[in-house]
Amino acid sequence: MPASRRPRKSKLMGNHQRAWIWGKHAVLEAIRSERWFPCEIRATEEVDEQILQELNAWHARQAELNAPESKPALEFETASRLQELCNQPDHQGLIARMPPYPYLSSNELIENLSDNSFLLVLDGIQDAFNFGACLRSAEVFGVDAVLIGTKGQCDVNSQVVRSSAGAVHHLPISQSDDLMKTLSEMKSAGVSLVAATEKADDDLPASRMQGAVAVIIGNEGQGIAQQHLELSSQRVKIPQTGRVQSLNAAVATGIVLYEAVRQRQSNHKQEDS
């Protein structure tokens, strides 16, 4: 019986083709990070020797860790069959079927806060490309964890895995049913909430982002929800020098995080001297 008709006990990240992540980089990061385990992996026979060894080692390790019936499958198929499964032409001969993303609970997020936590809060990012790019930037700039809500928020799906360039496998992401409540708890725990909004009076360089800080980035269309804006400790805008009035959400995220890193590093240097 082909693996696809085997009865499944566990849920998947998405239905049908949407449960698959594709590409060498994405799949290998998944098995290396050991945080979000594939349910099954399909590869073409032509896959590199080195990758094949890594896959086999992973498969053998899973066989030891899991009961035989829940052991993830590793099977070989033709390239066109892989394309059929994941609906993507650029699968590079390697795809993996994923369970739902293992989000960090908001309680765990709050418990792990320190006086130097560096967090990113996404308030309703709808576009998978934007979401992925925000995660990628967060990883590059050394953010400790990302907090997202549920309302109007894109989930971690296969497209997000792709556009995050593997960041989803390294970066803890917490999803909260009640973003307002989690933000309030973070604020009570001493985290400064810095909202990036066009409606701010202060320019980004005037912000104070040393110590425990959470950068809040708003939805592509409406920006940050009013109640979250009111809760925030500082409201800052990226100084505009041209004509188009707003930036892409992922670009704005990158710029604010870069400024945060710059301030946090200069703080360390002051402490050192």
């Binding site: 990628r136 960041a167 004509r243 892409n248």
Partner: protein
């Protein structure tokens, strides 16, 4: 070839800058909602033909790939004409002391090109040089992702980027390459110059011959395990740094 724009904000920008280039707007209903309503009002005032198909026809549908959103309303718009290289550069012998220009060395993802145009407009970039071969064409996706950022931005398409960079230098610009292999962080780059920032291809970065034309090469120092930013995010961070005088 006409572009088929699906982002109401990119259509509004076309209506503002060159209303005669909007040929037709096709909507699925008389009240498409959101920013499209504003598009229809402006378009009607400009006397642009509207075709409304109620019910059937262009219903809300899933796009070709999973993430594409589409309301079923589209505007058919003429492409913008590109400029010549000379037109986007400062006049020879009369270069301003500061300012920012941009070049994209074989960027392949229209999403990135669009996002870069949008950021460039936000930060007041004075002109953009694109490459002709192995590069994303200026298609509908670029216009839509730019959300109006293409309309007021002078751009030129160069067949030979190396030659174009040489010409830019003759006109007084300094060339700054962005590469993850650079040794200097962007914060160490002198702001008081008219820079032309070169963004490289998503995978390969800037080409060797392009790199040889650069006066300086810089990077955004990473802190995590993923070593590089998305090309459009990197470009945004660099433009923000180069255009911010207040942080100096």
């Amino acid at each position: 070839m006409a572009l088929e724009l699906r982002n109401p904000h990119s259509v509004l920008a076309v209506l503002k800058h060159r209303p005669h280039d909007v040929r037709e707007i096709r909507c699925s209903s008389a009240n498409p909602g959101g920013a499209w309503d504003e598009v229809l009002i402006v378009a009607q005032r400009a006397g642009i033909s509207l075709s409304i198909s109620q019910g059937g026809g262009n219903k809300r549908q899933r796009g070709k790939n999973q993430t594409e959103r589409s309301s079923g309303t589209v505007a058919m718009v003429k492409e913008r004409k590109d400029h010549t290289l000379k037109e986007i550069l400062p006049p020879e012998g009369n270069c301003p002391e500061t300012g920012l220009w941009l070049a994209m060395d074989c960027l392949q993802d229209p999403q990135n090109v669009g996002a870069i145009f949008r950021s460039a407009s936000f930060f007041g970039v004075q002109g953009i040089i694109l490459t002709k071969d192995r590069s994303a064409p200026m298609n509908s996706t670029v216009y839509d992702v730019a959300a109006g950022g293409v309309e007021a931005m002078p751009f030129t398409v160069a067949t030979n980027l190396t030659q174009a960079l040489k010409t830019a230098k003759d006109h007084g610009l300094w060339i700054l390459g962005a590469s993850e292999h650079a040794e200097k962080d962007i914060s160490q780059i002198d702001r008081d110059r008219p820079w032309l920032l070169v963004i490289g291809n998503e995978q390969k970065g800037i080409r060797r011959l392009t790199g040889e034309q650069c006066d300086e090469i810089c990077l955004i120092t990473p802190r995590g395990e993923v070593s590089s930013l998305n090309a459009s995010v990197a470009a945004g961070v660099l433009m923000s740094e180069l255009s911010s005088r207040s942080s100096q």
